[in-house]
């Protein structure tokens, strides 16, 4: 924005500072984002191990180590998942915001309005919590895909211990996918869903932050969002 031509006439705007993201939600966000990044990177390595280790086999442990990191991050990812569920139920109202309440007109109209505003580059209506579009994206791409990866992932994990705990819990996923190889390929295909999400998500967060001047980027670190006092943002309270 060219501030030299605008500054003299622009009205003075005061912002309100509102605590939106509780520490539990913020911690989840960064643990989740890190875990997914590590899972995707190590997962692609498992699919195509491009490093070639020299020396005797008893001296090196490259592939197994990468798999170990994948599994450790997988446990972290799954624990963070459960952790975030707790905040969905017992956190503040923003922790539930945007959730696809498909039985409510309000959610659908917010979804259409937000999508239109983003596409037509209108500012329109602001939100303090997640808007309906964001809520839908998190539900499909993070919760939905997350469950798919947890189910297929732990099913693959169970294969090294047939009859063990994980086999009993999620072993049924393998015949459901059409065998072990197809479970691998399903797990691999879904993995790319997170890439699509991450690209769109990071872009929209940057865009939204610029468009609404709401301090969105920093909010996932500090917990605070900003709102111009005169703008009536949706604060997620029940109507």
């Amino acid at each position: 924005m060219n501030s030299t031509t605008r500054a003299p006439v622009a009205p003075q705007v005061t912002y309100e500072r509102i605590y939106v993201w509780q520490w539990g939600v913020r911690a989840f966000h960064w643990i989740n984002a890190t875990a997914i990044t590590v899972l995707f990177a190590t997962g692609l390595y498992i699919a195509d191990p491009f490093l070639s280790a020299n020396g005797e086999a008893y001296d090196v442990f490259v592939m197994a180590r990468i798999r170990q990191i994948h599994f450790a991050s997988a446990f972290l990812f799954a624990i963070a998942f459960v952790w975030r569920m707790y905040f969905f139920w017992f956190g503040n109202r923003y922790a539930r915001s945007g959730f696809p309440a498909v039985w409510k007109r309000k959610w659908w109209s917010d979804l259409v309005r937000q999508a239109t505003d983003y596409l037509t580059l209108n500012v329109g209506h602001g939100h303090l919590g997640h808007n309906a579009l964001a809520g839908l994206a998190y539900t499909l791409f993070v919760i939905g895909l997350g469950w798919c990866q947890i189910l297929t992932g732990f099913a693959l994990y169970s294969e090294s211990n047939p009859g063990g705990f994980w086999d009993g819990l999620v072993g049924w996923v393998i015949p459901l996918c059409g065998g072990s190889l197809r479970t691998h390929m399903t797990h691999h295909l879904f993995a790319w869903g997170f890439v699509v999400f991450a690209i769109a998500h990071v872009y929209i967060v940057l865009f939204d932050s610029r468009q609404y001047r709401n301090g969105l980027i920093g909010s996932m670190i500090t917990g605070f969002k900003f709102k111009p006092v005169e703008r009536g943002d949706d604060d997620g309270a029940k109507p």
């Binding site: 031509t5 699919a47 070639s52 197994a64 699509v196």
Partner: protein
């Protein structure tokens, strides 16, 4: 071959009439016990079964198949196939191995069904084409589908030999022109044990039969109906090249240094990590070797859909989404590119709007965009 319909002697009876001694009989029992994967303490139980139980009549049907299962079976080295066929089970009908022919043998089958309902075991090699009324496989003027259902109706249980009977195998591979269906999709009311593999290992086949005779029931099966004792683990879990997998030392070309050093075949498309079978423990041809031992990856011949889930020499298999036939990685890259292009297009139009609106009304502020 003598038919045992009506007589039904025990295995021990039969061995005695062939001039075997007690010592030979016990040795046979010990070998059979080992083939079932049981320890020596089970030998008395096995001997007792062979002494007291009448031999199980087996009807062995051949549908759409290549006979590789029978070929494998007769090469069994532990309880050698001859012993199994002649002594342990009474093979009353088997198109490939029987001496009788024509209507005579069809008569044996019908007689067995009529006289011993619920007592005989049905072993099926191959599967049944179901398109166009099943005409793509007929025996003695009847469709195989009809013969199969008719014989299965009064069977004690059904053994699905090989990948054809268990999973459909090559004739059921896409586009499956004859509508071939594996046994479990046709026979619904009988216990079925699947013994997949193209072919299954001979010792697995005889081991299963030995178990069935000794205990008079099917062994413990896994979720998809395979005996756990032979299909409980992946090739990969008992593969002698596994240490190279863990190390990350892979063959990259068939003639490279890694291939000479016997490194892991994962990158050459080895399906060992996704295949349940006993090849890496029991091996083939009396324990001589198995594919990986000879420097070639596993192609997953005992897994469902293995023909469709190729290519055999690539780690990533083809994803069969409707209309799309490529690897998950290729699909993912396209999706990610589309997402990135979408974001870029949005950014460009946003930038363009900023520039245009600044030129249009220099100095005026947007009511909806609070400025700093």
């Amino acid at each position: 071959m003598a038919t045992s319909v009506g007589t039904r002697p025990t295995t021990w009876d039969l061995l005695r009439t062939h001039g075997f001694e007690r010592r030979d009989f016990l040795r046979f029992c010990a070998i059979t016990t080992a083939a079932m994967g049981l320890d020596a303490s089970f030998v008395p139980q096995v001997a007792h079964a062979f002494e007291t139980k009448p031999r199980i009549p087996v009807l062995w049907l051949h549908g759409l198949e290549c006979t590789c299962c029978s070929e494998s079976f007769i090469r069994s080295s532990h309880p050698i196939a001859q012993d199994v066929i002649l002594n342990m089970i009474s093979l009353d009908y088997d198109e490939t191995l029987q001496a009788a022919a024509g209507h005579q043998v069809e008569e044996i089958r019908r007689k067995m069904i009529a006289e011993h309902p619920g007592e005989y075991v049905l072993a099926v090699e191959g599967n049944a084409p179901t398109k166009d009324g099943g005409v793509y496989c007929t025996i003695a003027g009847e469709t195989f589908e009809k013969i199969l259902l008719e014989t299965a109706e009064h069977a004690k249980f059904v053994i699905a030999w090989g990948s054809c009977a268990s999973n459909g195998c090559v004739q059921a591979a896409s586009p499956n022109p004859t509508g071939a269906k594996p046994i479990h999709e046709l026979v619904h009311d009988k216990p079925i044990v699947k013994v997949p593999g193209c072919p299954p290992i001979a010792e697995v086949m005889t081991g299963l039969l030995a178990h069935v005779l000794t205990f008079d029931r099917l062994p413990e099966l896994d979720r998809v109906g395979r005996p756990k004792m032979f299909y409980g683990q992946r090739i990969h879990d008992k593969c002698y090249r596994r240490s190279f997998f863990d190390a990350g030392q892979f063959v990259e070309r068939w003639d490279d240094d890694g291939a000479r050093k016997g490194w892991c075949l994962y990158k050459m498309g080895c399906r060992g990590p996704t295949t349940y079978n006993s090849c890496s423990t029991i091996k083939w041809n009396g324990g001589v070797s198995f594919p990986i031992g000879s420097g070639h990856g596993c192609i997953g011949c005992s897994e469902a859909n293995f023909w469709d889930d190729g290519p055999f020499y690539s780690r990533l298999a083809t994803t069969r989404l409707p209309g799309v036939e490529t690897t998950p990685q290729a699909i993912g890259k396209v999706a990610a590119t589309v997402a990135a292009l979408g974001a870029a297009a949005h950014l460009v139009s946003f930038g363009a709007k900023q520039v245009l609106s600044r030129d249009a009304d220099k100095g005026s502020s947007h009511p909806e965009t609070p400025q700093r």
